[in-house]
Amino acid sequence: MKAGKLWRRIVLAVMALYVLVPLVGVAEFALRMRRGVYSFDAFVEVFGDDRFQETFLYSCGMALVTVVIGVVLIVPAAYAVRLHAPRLRSFVEFVTLLPLVVPAIVIVFGYLRLYGSDSFLPLTDTDTGADALLAFGYVTLSLPYIYRSVDAGLTSMDVRTLTEAAESLGARPLTVMLRVVLPNIRTSVLSGAFLTAAIVLGEFTFASLLDRPAFGPYMQLLGANRAYEPAALSLVAFALTWGLMALIGAFGGRRPGS
């Protein structure tokens, strides 16, 4: 009994050290900007930088667009295969897992070739086109996460009975989707959305290779040229990720109606 507790404590303590020491290190570094004293100068610099604000807002917008497109694509598909075509379900599941198999850098390479300047649909030639391509890329990246959370939500709600109940009361398919299905999987969709946001906000590969003014490439650029600001930025990014995960915890633990 006693020995059993001890090894658990040692393991958790080592893990906590491994996770926390780099955070302490980067925090200390960020505070060292002014010679001889600790100060928040690095944070002031970062938050005051126009590029920071622009790229951060751009990435936030990207995250929002990604989530909306992802949900609009995935919810009807997951709902339809569950209700009408169970045999298609493993196909949909397989497709949503593909982004875990194909590395992001390979996907974006494919985009550049298929939608690049000398292709049949040169999306990268205009800013709007490139933005759209980035959003589609992010939707692709987040397919596994959004699908998994939507599917979990549908599993917990007895889709068939609720649909039949709604239809017997005269609801049309769109009404069923908007007023029965979506409200019931709201919490699952939200947790998928926050996870997607956490991935999209700091994403580097897609944004950099599509040459978009996003937060990830900005952080990289700053890291290559400055000393203390990147450390402050790293802490900001950590806090942001933490916030999004906390939101998942807050929403994930609560079911509608309870």
Binding site: G25, H84, V95, V102, I105, V106, I107, E203, F204, M219
Partner: protein, 285 residues
């Protein structure tokens, strides 16, 4: 003629999703894979694949696989230990919740900010490096450590691999029933015998599967390595990144071959992972 409503709903539901998947996932990827077997004029060739045999590319694959494998195995071992430590109700609920949240955060804390954190901690001017010199007289850089090396990168990757392992393996660990350990005790088995004969065989497929997932995760990573080392470390992803950027454009076909090679490596990993998961799901149903 009226089509059955179920058919119409399926088409409207799955159609857009399928179209999207084809346009932005299947076509771009297959385009590259086909490209890997074409020369500049579109004729069939193995020349691109032969390019994979040049020493620098071979090295890149070797280094990538080494780092991915090391960070996957170490991450899996550490993550499994944490998951086992959290198992059951031996750890107070708030601590358990805090650890799991921390895992959720750190498994997503990869890329550029992670690179900064490690630079600030164990870089040449890092806090831990300095503290070790000041209080213990140990300079890890004199001892051969270098953050911008295979070892350094492995430990950096470990920062998101270990928590990812905790999250992936936790359901399997929680699936170990208390009744099993009690039944084993009643049958006269010591905790060590129970661990060796029951726990290890039950978890093995999940652990191996999760390790493969971690491997694929590290193998495809770009941002952390790029932010940490620029182009100075020879990884497949960094090589491909440079190739796409046009930094090294002496062989356009090589990019396709690199992409093909990467998909083959991660594809094999994931097929094995799915196989193992299906196996353990069936047995533990």
């Amino acid at each position: 003629m009226r089509l059955p409503r179920a058919f119409v709903q399926t088409v409207f539901g799955v159609g857009p999703f399928a179209l999207f998947a084809v346009l932005f996932l299947v076509l771009p990827t297959s385009n590259l894979l086909v490209g890997a077997f074409q020369d500049g004029e579109g004729n069939f060739t193995f020349a691109n694949l032969a390019g994979l045999m040049t020493p620098s590319v071979v090295t890149a694959f070797r280094v990538s696989i080494t780092i991915s494998l090391a960070s996957a195995v170490l991450g899996a071992a550490a993550g499994l230990a944490v998951a086992l430590a959290l198992r059951g109700d031996a750890v107070p609920r708030p601590i358990r919740q805090a650890v799991l949240t921390l895992c959720g955060v750190t498994s997503n804390f990869a890329g550029v900010p992670l690179a900064f954190a490690f630079l600030a901690t164990v870089g040449r001017a890092g806090l831990l490096t300095a503290l070790l010199v000041r209080y213990f007289g140990i300079n890890i850089y004199d001892g051969g450590f270098n953050l911008l090396s295979v070892v350094g990168l492995t430990f950096t990757y470990l920062y998101f691999q270990m928590p990812l392992m905790v999250l992936v393996i936790m359901p399997a660990v929680e699936g170990l029933k208390r009744d099993w350990s009690e039944a084993a005790a009643m049958l006269g088995a010591s905790p060590a015998q129970f661990t060796l004969r029951i726990v290890a065989p039950i978890l093995a497929p999940n652990v191996v599967g999760a390790t493969l997932l971690l491997f694929a995760n590290a193998f495809g990573a770009v941002a952390t390595a790029y932010a940490l080392t620029g182009s100075s470390i020879n990884l497949v992803t960094i090589l491909l990144f440079a190739q796409i950027r046009g930094d090294v454009l002496h062989d356009p076909g090589l990019g396709f071959a690199l992409a093909l090679g990467m998909v083959v490596v991660t594809g094999v990993c994931n097929i094995l992972y799915l196989r193992l998961r299906a196996f353990s799901d069936r047995r533990l149903r």
